[in-house]
Subunit: 381 residues, 4 copies
C-alpha cells in the first residue's frame, strides 16, 4: 500500500503568538515617520476608527481627522436610521444587559433614511473632517452614488467577508471595476484574509484592502462559523499579495489590518507584519465622548438568523487624544498607541512604516507556565 | 556511534486548533446545497442525532426526520430494556447527582427485551420518520435480523472502537461482508479514527463510517485509556481513506464525524475537514423535549470494570428546530447550526458539501494569552 | 556574512501531549497478555510500587506481590531508620501542614540502622512477597551485600539521576559491572532519560533501567534545577536504546517508566511509548492501608541544601486491588489501571506489551480553548 | 500563478518552554566550578544584581561582592537624585498602591546630582565591594568620566535596547569604540537579543553584553511595544554571536542574561543556553534588607509618554545569602540558586560553565492539561 498523502495544514499566528525582534541599528522615536497614504490622501497617523456605531459618529470623526487619523462612518447603522442617533445611543447605553439584545435587534431593523446619508457626510466635512463612509456590498449600488454626491473623501465597502466575485440570487453581483468608473473617490474594500482573495480584490483597481476575519472582540464569526485567520498571518499573507501586486502593476495598494487589537503592542506587530495602517474598534470605543459611552457592540451580520453581537462593556479610560498620543494613565498598553508605535519602530531602527515591514518577528507564544498560573489563581480578585 | 533513529510522532488537531480560511469567491448562504446521501437515502440536512438515551427516543427521531436530518435509536439502552422508558428517563433526570451513578449502573444492567426492538422501530416508522437503529458488534448477529424485519431504514453498528477484524474468545468475530448479504438496508459502522482502519471498514462493503474516538464531552475514553485522536485530524485522515477508496472501487462511502461538537463552528470545521455529515450528542440533548431533559450521560462501555460516564447537566436552550435552523436566542454558536454551516460555506464559496471539503484550514490554536487570562480571572462570576 | 548556525532544540512530549491511535484490528481485553519479566522473575502485572515511604512498607509490598506486581522498599527511609516505622508514619500523617517540613527534615536526618535492612527484607519474604529493595548509589557498596545476604529478589539502585560513570570526591565511583559480580540478583538502575545514558547503563550488564527525571508530582527537580524530560519522549528514547542494545548484545533489558503518572491513560501511553513496566508513586499512595495514610512526600535529595519535597495530600480512594483491578468507584481514570491497560491494548489490537510498543501515537495536546476556559471558570466550585 | 512565498517566522523559546537533559556522566555538585570572568575581574558566583533601585544600593552592593557576585548601582535612579535615598525608598514602600504611580513619576523627575555619583561609588569601594555602575546611553558621555574618576570597577551602559549604531536628533550618537579609549575599566553594554546586534556590539571592543528585551516581571516592553524575544532563544543566539566573534577575534566576550528569572531552574537553563552569568532583579528584591523592602518597580523608560512600570509586591523571603546559597526555607526554587546551579551542572556532568553550555535542552512546554486545570481551579485559595 502506498503511503497515504495526509492533508497538511499551515500554521497561522495572532498578536499573542509573536514578538518583534529589535534591530541592529536603533533610532530615536521622534525620528520616525508614520505617515499613511490612501489614494491621494495622506494621514499623519496610520490609525482608522472602525465603522461601528459605538466608535464613530460625526463628532468623533471630526476629532479623529484633527488628530491626524481617519474615522469611518457606518452608513447602515444608527446614524442613517435615526434623525437623532444620539438618543438611540443613549438608550443602548442605558439599557440593562439582559434587555439589550432585543433592543439592538429592534434598533437595527428600522429602515435606512437615504437623506441622512448626505446629511451626516456634510456634517463631518463642515466640521473640518476628512469623511470616510462605509456601506455593505449589498447596498453599494444604491448608496455609493449618494456618498460621492455628498463629497465624501473615501468609500469603504465592508462585510464580514467580501470577495471580488460574489454569487447571489437576491442581488446582482457587485463589480468593483465597474463601480470605480462611477465613483471618483478612493475605495477601500474588505474584509479578506488570504493572499489570493486579497490579490483578486487589488486587481479590480480598488485603493485599499481591509484585512481580518474573525479576530475581533465584538465578533462572533470564529465561534459561530469556525471561520477566521489570526491577524498576524492574515496581514503577512495580504502584505505579500500587495507586494506581488505592486510588482505586476506598479500600483501600491495599502492594506489595513482590522480587528482584534487590544493594546499598543498589537498595533506595532500588525505594522511589522506588513500593515500600512490599522483599524481600531474596542480601543477607541473606550475614549471619552465615544458614541458607545463605554460600550461596544457588533452590528449587522450577513445571515439574518445568526445572532447579533452582544453588547460588551469596555469602559471609558481617557480622551481620544490620550489614547493616541498619551500621556498614558494606565500601564497595560491601551493608551499612547502612537508613542508605542514610534518607540517600537525606534528600537527596530525603522524610520518609516515600510522599513518596519522588514522587521523580524519570532513566534513566541505568551503561554503561561504552571507556576505562573498558580500565582495568578492565588492573586486576590 | 550512528545517530539514533528517534521515533517521530505526527501532530493531530481538534476543533479548537483550526480555523477555516475564507474563499476567493463568495456565495449567498441560500445558494448552498447541504444535502447528504446514505445508500439510496437522501437527507436535506447533514446532521444525525447520536444513539444515546439522552438524545434519541421515538418522538425525537420522528421530529429529526421531519426537520430533514436523521436520528439513531440505541437498541441497547433504555428504549429496549424497559416497556416504559419515559419513566426511567424521568427517574434519571430527577435523581440527585450523588446518587445517579449507581442508578445508571442499575438501569443498564436490566436485560434487553427483544420484542421492544420491533416495537420502537415501528413506532418511528408509523410516526413518519426515517428509522436508524444502533447495535453493538457483540449483539449484531442476534439483533440485526430483528432490525431488518421491522423495516428499519439504516443499521448502525457502533462501539467505542470497531474494526473490520475483531478477535474475541467470547463471541465469533463479526464479518460485515457476511452481514451485508443478509441485511438489505444501509449499514453504518463505527467508530474509527485512522486512515487504514477506515479503509479496511470501507472495503467490507458497508455504506458509511462513523469517525471519532475519545473526543466527546460524555466520553471518558481519552482520560481512562489514553486513546483518541482529535476530530479534525481523524476526519481528514478518514476522508482521505474515503477518497482513496473511491478511486479504487468507484464507490463513495460517506463519513460521519461523531462526537466532540460544542458549537456551529465545530460543525463547519468538521465538514471542511472532509466529513459528509456530523453526529451530534450534547448539543441536541439541549433541545426542549429531548429525552435527557437537560442532562446527558455516557452509556455502556466495552469493559465492564471501567466506569460508566457521569451524568452531565447540559441544560435546555431551545427547540430542536431552533437549534438546527434558528433564530438563535444565544450568541455562543450553539443554535442555528444549519444557518452557520450555510453561512460558512457561503464565505468559502462552497456550493456543496463536497466543495466545502476543498476549503483551506489553518492551524490557529485559540490559546489564551496571559493578559486575556488576567481579564478572565478578574471577571465577575 | 554567512548565515548563523542557530542552535536547534528537539521537542519533547509528556503524557498530556499525546494520544494513542486505535488499531486496524481489535482484540478482546481478556485476550491480552501483560506479563513483565525482570531477569528470571516474571510478574503478571507490569506495575511496580515506587521506593517511597508513603507508598511501600512491608505490608504493602506483600500485598503488591500477591496482586501480581512488585513493590520496592526504600532502604534509606523510615523503614531502616526506625525500629518502629509505623509510629513515624503516623506522626508525619498527623502533623499539620505548616509544621511538616521541619519534621520531615528531622525524620530523615536520623541514621540508618544496618540491622533493619535484613529484618525488613526477611519480613517481606516471610509474608510471601517478592522483595525488591532500593539503595542510593552512594550507599550501594555498603548496603548491597546486606541486601543480597538477606535474600532479596531484586536490587534497585536509584537517585534522581544515575549515570554509568559518576565522578565524585567524597566516594569512589560505583562500577555496576563490578557490583554485578558480587550481587547474584537482578539489578535495576535509575533514573535516566536519554538514549545515550540509558545505553551506557545497559552496557554495564544491569537488568533493568528506570526512566524519568523531573516529571513526578512530589518532585521538585524541574522547577528547582530546570532539569527533566517529559516522560513520553524519555520513554521513547530509552526504548530505542533498549532495542538498539538488544541488536548489539542479544540481551533484552526492560525499561520501567517512573514518575508523573496520574491516571490509567498515562500508563497506557507509557507502554505504547515503549515501557515494559511502570513505577507508580502518588496513585498507589491513595490506596487504603498505604503507609502514607493519604499523604505523599519526597524523600532525600542529592544536595543537602536543596529543599526536601513538600508533603502533598493525595487522599485515600480505594483498596490497592481496586486501584489495580477495579471495579472503579471513580470516573477520573485513577482506578482499575490494569483494566484500562488491557482495554487500551484491545482497541489497539495489541496482544502483548511488546505489540503495544508498536502502536501509533499522535501529538494531541489537551490544550483548553478559550470557550472551554470560560465554562470552567464559571463552574461552581 | 506561482506559489506565493509566504513569510516564515522562527520559533523562540523562554524559560518555561525548555528543560535540560541530564548527561551520560554525572559529577558531584561540589566538583563544579562556576567562576565568571569580566575583563580582568573574576567572580566566584556568576550572579549579578540588576541596576534597579529596588535591588541595588550601596549596602547590598557591598554584601553581593562579599558573597562572590556583583551588584550594579544605577546612577540615574534614587541613589544619585537624592542625598538621602533611603528616605525616598521608605516612602515608595509605604505609599498605598493607588498612589504609588504618581509618586514614582515625581521621584524620577528630580534632577541627578553629579556629585552623588562619586560619593556612591566610593562608599561601595570603601565598604570593600567591587563597584559596578550603570548609566544610560544618552548620559554616557556626561557620566562615564565621573565613573572612571571615582574608581568604579565596571561600567554598565544600559537601556531597553542599545545598539552599536544609534541615530538621534537630540544627542550625538555614542561610539563605544571611542569611549573605550577614554574609560580604562571593563564596559558592559545592553540590552540586545539578536545574533547580529550582539555581534555588532562585540565588534566595538566592549567587554560584556547584556541579553534580554521584554522578559522581566517589572517590564512592560512586550505588552506596550510588542517587542521582545524570550530569553532562551535570545541567549542561544547571542551565545552563538559570542562564539563566532571569538573565532574571528580570539577575544571571549561574556554574555549576561538579564531579566525574566523566577527560580533556580531558570538560571540553570540560561547557563545551559549559553549565558556566562545571569542578572537578577525580582528574585534579589526579595532579600532581607533589599532597598525595595519587599517591592520592585520599573524605572525610566526611553519614551517619556509611555507609562513607568507599576510597583509589584515581591515580598521578603530570606537573606541574600540564603537566596544564593541556602539552606532553602521554601520549595519553589527561589532560594539556594547557587546550589541549584551546581546540582544541575552535576547531573549534566558539566564541571564548568563552559561545559554547561554544551548541555542538551529539549522543548518541553509546561502546558497545563485540562485535568490539571480542574484540579487547580478546585483547590482552595
Amino acid at each position: 500500500m502506498a503511503k497515504p498523502q495526509f492533508r497538511q495544514l499551515r500554521h497561522a499566528y495572532g498578536f499573542d503568538d509573536v514578538a518583534i525582534v529589535t534591530g541592529d541599528v536603533t533610532i530615536n522615536p521622534d525620528q520616525t515617520n508614520i505617515e499613511f497614504s490612501l489614494g491621494e490622501l495622506s494621514f499623519s497617523v496610520p490609525v482608522i476608527a472602525s465603522a461601528m456605531d459605538a466608535v464613530t459618529d460625526v463628532d468623533s470623526a471630526i476629532m479623529m481627522s484633527k488628530l491626524g487619523g481617519l474615522a469611518v462612518l457606518h452608513l447602515e447603522g444608527v446614524q442613517t436610521r435615526y434623525d437623532n442617533p444620539a438618543e438611540i445611543l443613549d438608550e443602548i447605553a442605558q439599557t440593562p444587559l439582559d434587555k439589550v439584545t432585543p433592543l439592538l435587534q429592534k434598533v437595527y431593523s428600522q429602515p435606512i433614511k437615504e437623506n441622512l446619508i448626505g446629511e451626516r457626510i456634510q456634517a463631518i466635512k463642515q466640521g473640518g473632517g476628512i469623511c470616510a463612509a462605509s456601506v455593505t456590498p449589498a447596498n453599494t449600488k444604491r448608496f455609493a452614488p449618494l456618498v460621492a454626491e455628498a463629497n465624501a473623501d473615501v468609500l469603504f465597502i465592508q462585510s464580514t467577508v467580501t470577495s471580488a466575485r460574489h454569487i447571489s440570487k437576491s442581488y446582482q453581483g457587485l463589480s468593483f471595476t465597474e463601480l470605480l468608473k462611477s465613483v471618483p473617490i478612493p475605495i477601500v474594500v474588505g474584509n479578506c484574509v488570504s493572499y489570493s482573495a486579497c490579490l483578486e480584490l487589488m486587481r479590480t483597481g480598488i485603493h485599499g484592502v481591509l484585512v481580518g476575519v474573525g479576530p475581533g472582540a465584538a465578533c462572533t464569526t470564529r465561534a459561530v462559523l469556525g471561520v477566521g485567520v489570526p491577524q498576524i498571518t492574515a496581514t503577512m499573507d495580504c502584505a505579500l499579495a500587495r507586494d506581488d501586486y505592486q510588482r505586476e502593476s506598479a500600483r501600491y495598494v495599502p492594506i489595513i489590518t482590522d480587528g482584534g487589537f487590544r493594546k499598543g503592542g498589537d498595533i506595532c506587530k500588525a505594522i511589522a507584519a506588513g500593515a500600512d495602517a490599522v483599524m481600531l474598534g474596542s480601543i477607541l470605543a473606550q475614549a471619552e465622548g465615544a458614541p458607545g459611552q463605554g460600550y461596544h457592540w457588533g452590528m449587522a451580520h450577513p445571515h439574518p438568523a445568526l445572532p447579533r453581537g452582544t453588547r460588551i462593556k469596555v469602559g471609558t479610560t481617557g480622551t481620544l487624544k490620550q489614547i493616541l498620543f498619551g500621556p498614558s494613565s494606565v500601564t497595560d498598553g491601551s493608551q499612547n498607541l502612537v508613542g508605542a508605535l514610534r518607540t517600537a519602530m525606534g528600537v527596530c531602527g525603522a524610520a518609516t512604516i515600510k522599513e518596519m515591514h522588514q522587521t523580524e518577528m519570532v513566534i513566541a507564544p505568551s503561554i503561561v507556565s504552571e507556576g505562573k498560573w498558580w500565582q495568578m489563581l492565588q492573586a486576590p480578585r
